[in-house]
Symmetry: C2
Subunit: 184 residues, 2 copies
């Protein structure tokens, strides 16, 4: 497959495709393009998708429950091995392939299972304590759905997901679609 | 507030802040900066957040249920007025401030309520039919959580949310944190 083909699929220019891929090594052959299987394997390795990531979820409410049963996670190598909640009424119930455990057991569980990813699906008020527990449990990366910033030590990665921002992007697109000229 | 202050808050340069805001008009006063209340109001208007957006959700499973009770939506002006599902067992049950209705009622309901935003929280196999129904119901923007591309007519905006991609970004960050040199 040529960089032209890849550019068209990705909505980019072929020069950008070649430049971006060249950051990671020399994969293409001039005039012949990229071997699709090789490139696919290399990209999966770069993204860390050639391995299995063990994840724990904090918060067994509606969002935590939805995330625990989100089929695309497992298909990309993200396996949820534990779900934790501070509400005793939530604890003990089955959720996906696991049961909801008390929040106090998180650190020991995460260390014992060698979990490396934590997903925070708590209210904002509980997010920082959740992050602290995850970090004490040896977690290396946090996906934070709570609308709060988190302070984490070096070596721990955080990504924030704010679903309201997606709706704001949509309302911006709808609003500007009504405008003539430069903004639309 | 100066463009320097805004730049620091946003992790940008002050020149970029001034340039980006100038696309939308002349808000700042040279040497004095921006009036925070004025700027806040203008930005909310640009983003379409000065109005109420009526939303319908397709899919009353775990993800749809979580989205329907996501508190940040309402606080940003996005009000979920209807939830629809193809499963008769889901229909009739209370969800947030509404009840789950049969999918066949979507078009008429959306038109009658003047809903303008549709949220697709179905499996991939049902996403395209859901989008067609939303469009026939007069929806102007779609937030799609199903892992499928959608063909929509001009004048309809679509945003895709793939939660697995957020985890992939995290696994990339963790993987590269282990690497020495340029990648890390």
């Amino acid at each position: 497959m040529s960089s032209d083909d890849l550019a068209e699929l990705g909505g980019l220019t072929s020069a950008q495709v070649r430049k971006d891929l060249s950051v990671f090594g020399n994969f293409g052959v001039r005039g012949r393009g990229y071997n699709v299987d090789d490139l696919h394997g290399v990209l999966r390795k770069i993204l860390g998708l050639d391995q299995t990531w063990l994840c724990v979820v904090v918060g067994a409410g509606r969002l935590g429950s939805a995330l625990t049963s989100y089929p695309e996670f497992a298909s990309q190598g993200f396996h949820i091995v534990g779900v934790f909640d501070s509400d005793p009424k939530q604890c003990g119930r089955q959720l996906g392939a696991t049961i909801v455990r008390p929040i106090g057991e998180l650190e020991e569980f995460a260390r014992k299972e060698s979990a490396s990813v934590g997903i925070i699906a708590t209210p904002a008020s509980a997010a920082r304590e959740s992050a602290d527990r995850l970090i004490r449990g040896g977690i290396r990366g946090i996906l934070n759905f709570a609308p709060t910033s988190l302070d984490v030590p070096e070596g721990v990665s955080v990504r924030h997901v704010n679903l309201a921002i997606e709706l704001e992007g949509l309302s911006f697109a709808i609003t500007t679609a009504d405008l003539p000229g430069e903004l639309a």
